[in-house]
């Protein structure tokens, strides 16, 4: 048993830190540090820097333009990127790339992967539907063969960044007679195909990241299907089994703790400071301690994975606890503003420019981030679904 990383990994970590300090643009760092959405053009500007450095797709194999980082190094990298307040990697990198690499045709890999790496395509994920949220396998969007095409009809919802996307990877039903999981296929759809209509969904934070996507007689070439017909569920699930790490968001939460402590020790409250309140202080320290426990748990699970143990309920545990801690910290951040938690400032990036010059500068972003963050326990499999998953694995009842 040993807590320290090896010297090679420590050198690697320093290399990352130096790169991030030098190359991450200040304006992008600033938005991330405040928990604000980074715009598409800024995101691409950052991704091009990563691409030039060869670090665009740490989770891909090196022959496809990924890295030869070990599992430990990938963990360290994810942590350092988050600690430096760099934007998170996008769907193309995290979700689609691994599926294409595992199941895509040679042509698909040759065409799409380099375009993802070079930020030539922005991808969105067309999974959820009005009747298929937690029960994703209940999806109804229909794809019917018509010659060399599929004719796709249906509706997707909660589609993040569909309005920025060039393409969508999409789960569709190709066999309505089969069991729900058996009749699903995985299609790659160009967003400029006729018949696609995008309607914005304005979120609690008054921002626009979510969308409805309506598909009416959308023609998708059969060659845009990934893998076999009716096997799409397997491909979508493949990712869930692979993605163990990086769901805990420890580094992001550590950043929230630092912000919170800074604000609470600077914020006057009557004769003293907010941190002078024993109750407030205690709530901060309990969350800080929970976060410490989460971080060691993440490391312990990483060490199990390095040992070659198969993935079990660990990602669900990390997701549940990580999202709860994030929400707890974001709520305390709002509370740290006192009455300045009242004015609501739309984020100029997603809505019209409306930065309000009231209250301390540190309030900028906090309420929006808190509202947006209520989704952390809902998306990616709600925490209730995660508990069902753990229960199925460990209780088997």
């Amino acid at each position: 048993m040993n807590l320290a990383f090896g010297s090679k990994d420590l050198i690697f970590q320093q290399e990352l830190q130096a790169f991030l300090a030098e190359c991450l643009p200040d304006d992008i760092r600033e938005r991330c540090a405040r928990g604000l959405i980074v715009g598409n053009e800024d995101l691409i500007r950052w991704q091009r820097i990563l691409y030039d450095r060869g670090w665009m797709a740490p989770n891909w194999p090196v022959e496809y333009g990924g890295t030869d980082w070990t599992l430990t190094q990938k963990y360290i990298a994810a942590r350092e990127f988050a600690a430096a307040c760099a934007p998170l990697p996008t769907f193309g990198i995290t979700m689609l790339g691994p599926v294409l690499i595992a199941f895509g045709s040679a042509e698909q890999k040759a065409f799409y992967l380099p375009r993802i790496l070079k930020s030539e395509d922005v991808w969105c994920q067309g999974y959820s539907e009005p009747g298929a949220g937690s029960d994703l396998a209940n999806l109804k969007t229909r794809a019917v063969r018509a010659g060399d095409d599929y004719l796709v009809n249906g509706q997707k919802i909660w589609t993040s960044y569909a309005h920025w996307a060039d393409r969508m990877f999409c789960l569709v039903r190709t066999d309505p007679a089969a069991k729900p999981q058996k009749g699903i296929s995985f299609l790659l759809i160009d967003m400029d195909t006729p018949g696609i209509e995008i309607k914005p969904i304005i979120g609690l934070d008054m921002g626009h990241t979510l969308n409805e996507v309506f598909l009416s007689d959308v023609r998708v070439p059969v060659k845009n299907r990934v893998g076999e017909e009716n096997e799409g569920w397997t491909y979508a699930k493949y990712l869930l089994q692979k993605e163990r790490s990086f769901v805990a968001r420890v580094a992001q939460s550590r950043h929230l703790v630092q912000r919170l402590k800074r604000i609470a020790s600077e914020q006057k409250m009557g004769a003293g400071y907010l941190f002078g309140s024993a109750e407030f202080r205690r709530r901060v320290s309990r969350l800080e301690i929970d976060l410490q426990a989460l971080e060691y748990t993440e490391l312990r699970y990483l060490s199990k994975e390095l040992q070659g143990e198969p993935v079990g309920p660990e990602p669900s545990i990390l997701k549940i606890r990580g999202s709860e801690i994030q929400q707890g910290l974001k709520q305390l951040l709002v509370e740290s503003l006192g009455m300045y938690g009242v004015p609501y400032e739309n984020d100029s990036m997603t809505v019209s420019d409306s930065y309000m010059e009231v209250g301390p500068d540190h309030r900028h972003g906090i309420v929006a981030e808190h509202l947006y963050g209520r989704g952390a326990t809902i998306f990616g499999g709600s925490n209730e679904i995660q508990r069902n998953i753990i229960s199925r694995m460990l209780l088997g009842t």
Binding site: K261, S285, I289, A293, N388, L394, L395
Partner: protein
């Protein structure tokens, strides 16, 4: 970075597991609980034979030079079986203090006897008005010729009735000091009682207890740093014990809700119960990570280890309550009985939340160490 056990550590765990299986899972723990000793002298002999009593001590005294990680592995496995033998009192606490603060003569006298299984000790450091704070000591030790005269009162001394000797904190004119006292000294009066978790403990009153200079353990007035350090290791040891107890309690509960039927189905098929069990499991997982990490950081002598001691005790204390209470709840009526094992896990786990300071105490001390930003 590696949380996995080495081969040697696995062997240690396996040997303790075998002991628990042979001597706790198939025998009558209640008989030991209600015996005069409160544990088994025969088991203690086995502890000595297996070398566990030698584990943390230096090789020069016949020990194995083990680390807090080894102690944690042993304690975690003992915790699975709710083992009653006084390892914590004798080896971790008293033995730890002698090894850390004792003179050559005291070490050479006491440690080999502990290792041989011939000597048990108990630590008397708390008083009715001290809360959990080891520095609050009203018991006095007045110079008296070469030696000292002790007066005062110590409370809830685990293993008080059975220990051969006490290590006791008292204030001299130079500050808090430690003394080794034999059982039965004139003026040393014991009030014995059973504890909630089925052990024996005592309150001690001291009235002009006279001891020689050799009773002083370590430098006069220098007890607190040693006491804090050993209490930190004791926190690690009980946290590991709790991790073992929580794992066992969760397994017992899992097995029960899988087979207990109501409304014609196993109660484990109900989502409310499933989710409560999952939350118990998550608490136990986080506690395990903190406990393992604390043991490693104690071993490595990290500078900021005191904050980690407090953070771990807070985490494990909460987990112990959630798991213990949840286990009783998910069992329903049978969880309320003395006959069934789960209630005993609940009792020990709730005591561990208190031992060496509860969550409030450790959170307060954590805050004192963590700067605002």
């Amino acid at each position: 970075m590696d949380f996995n056990l080495t081969e040697e550590q696995s062997m240690l765990r396996d040997s303790v597991e075998r002991f628990v299986a042979d001597h706790y899972q198939n025998t009558d723990r209640a008989a030991l609980v209600y015996s005069d000793l409160g544990y088994s002298a025969e088991h203690w002999r086995l502890f000595a034979e297996m070398g566990w009593l030698a584990l943390p001590f230096a090789e020069q005294h016949g020990g194995f030079g083990g680390t807090p990680v080894d102690t944690a592995i042993l304690m975690e496995t003992l915790g699975r079986g709710l083992v009653l033998e006084p390892y914590l009192s004798t080896v971790v606490l008293a033995g730890g203090l002698v090894a850390l603060a004792g003179s050559e003569v005291q070490q050479a006298d006491i440690i080999p006897q502990i290792i041989a299984g011939d000597l048990t000790l108990a630590l008397a450091y708390l008083e009715p008005a001290s809360g959990f704070d080891p520095s609050h000591v009203a018991t006095t030790a007045r110079s008296d010729g070469d030696g000292f005269l002790l007066n005062g009162y110590k409370c809830v001394v685990y293993q008080g009735p059975s220990a051969d000797r006490f290590i006791l904190s008292a204030r001299t004119e130079k500050g808090v000091s430690l003394f080794v006292l034999e059982q039965g000294l004139p003026g040393l009066c014991r009030k014995d009682f059973k504890t909630l978790d089925g052990q024996w403990a005592s309150d001690l009153s001291l009235e002009d207890v006279s001891v020689g200079p050799e009773a002083l353990l370590g430098g006069e007035g220098l007890a607190l740093p040693a006491l804090e350090q050993v209490l930190g290791r004791a926190v690690s040891a009980v946290c590991a014990e709790a991790v073992g107890s929580m794992a066992a309690a969760n397994e017992i509960t899992r097995d029960y809700i899988r087979v207990r039927e109501q409304f014609g189905v196993a109660i484990g098929s109900f989502q409310a119960l499933q989710h409560r069990w999952v939350d118990m499991h998550i608490e136990a997982e986080l506690a395990k990570s903190m406990s393992d990490a604390l043991a490693m950081r104690l071993r490595d002598g990290d500078e900021d280890v005191p904050a980690m001691v407090h953070a771990t005790k807070v985490t494990v204390g909460r987990a112990a309550q959630i798991v213990g209470q949840g286990a009783v709840q998910l069992h329903g009526g049978i969880g309320m009985t003395d006959d069934y094992a789960i209630g005993h896990y609940y009792k020990r786990l709730s005591i561990i939340d208190l031992l060496f300071g509860n969550q409030d105490y450790h959170a307060t001390r954590y805050e004192a160490l963590e700067p605002a930003q």
